[in-house]
Amino acid sequence: MSLPVYRHIHVRTDSIDELVALLSVELNIKNPVAFHLETLNSHQQKEMVGIIENFFDTENVSFKFPYPVYVISTLESSISNMPIVSAQEKLPKFYSQKEGRMNVKETHLALKNKLMNQEIKNVDPKLTRDNLEFFALEHRQIFELQQENSFYRTILQKMAKVKKRG
């Protein structure tokens, strides 16, 4: 049992087969993962990001939970849905911990976390994403309707005030 700290994967060649061999459905179950693509050129980086993202999509595995998967690249973060950072120092500090031996109490806690990870892993990410997107869409509609209604209400109130004044 080890601490859930970053697992750094350095991709130094543009070989697709090598990258595919590194990917598995259990990649982010035990710890967060950081793919280092910064040594490749931008075209190769784009291709690699596409392959990684496509893998998670086709296998119906989430790169957000149980542990996040990050890509360290010189590309703009907008080119992919995956979280992209420009340098290792910009990764969230939360998982940057010193590794060491765990005592009995900590091992028990880690085992409890492992069970939760398994439960989270069993959730269907596509279904979850669809549900969340639908929920967000509904609430955006509700917000817009509510704004429009409050605008009409303000006009009516102002008109009533003018009427009172004569």
Partner: protein, 121 residues
């Protein structure tokens, strides 16, 4: 005069000698800032506890909240009600503006008079 030189203690500082001079051998009871082995281990425990909280929240969202939202969604009902309210408010607003002598009509009348009525001499 310096007390060390004379060996006498001035009357006004009697009883406060230790407080003024301090104890030469005194040292902080907190010790130096080197973390012990136990403290480092406690760091791990805190980290694991925080991670456990995070996982618990993610689990709650994915396993409890999202299925609940899907099953008992209030969104469509709210949208329908707000749509009805919007129609009613629109109608009310239109009726108010349409009335004879309404503020809207008066404003329009003023604008038309300015632009289309010949100036009175």
């Amino acid at each position: 005069m310096d007390r060390k030189k004379t060996g006498k203690i001035p009357d006004d500082i009697k009883g406060f000698e230790e407080f003024i001079e301090g104890e030469p051998d005194a040292h902080s009871f907190m010790g130096k800032g080197h973390p012990s082995k136990k403290e480092v281990s406690f760091e791990h425990f805190t980290f694991l506890t925080n991670d456990s909280d995070r996982l618990m929240k993610v689990r709650q969202l994915l396993v409890t909240k999202i299925p609940f939202i899907k099953r008992y969604s209030q969104g469509q009902t709210l949208i329908e009600k707000l749509g009805e309210e919007k129609l009613n408010l629109g109608n009310e607003l239109f009726n108010q503006c349409e009335k004879q002598g309404s503020a809207y009509r008066k404003s329009l009348q003023e604008i038309f008079e300015i632009y289309f009525n010949p100036p009175k001499k």
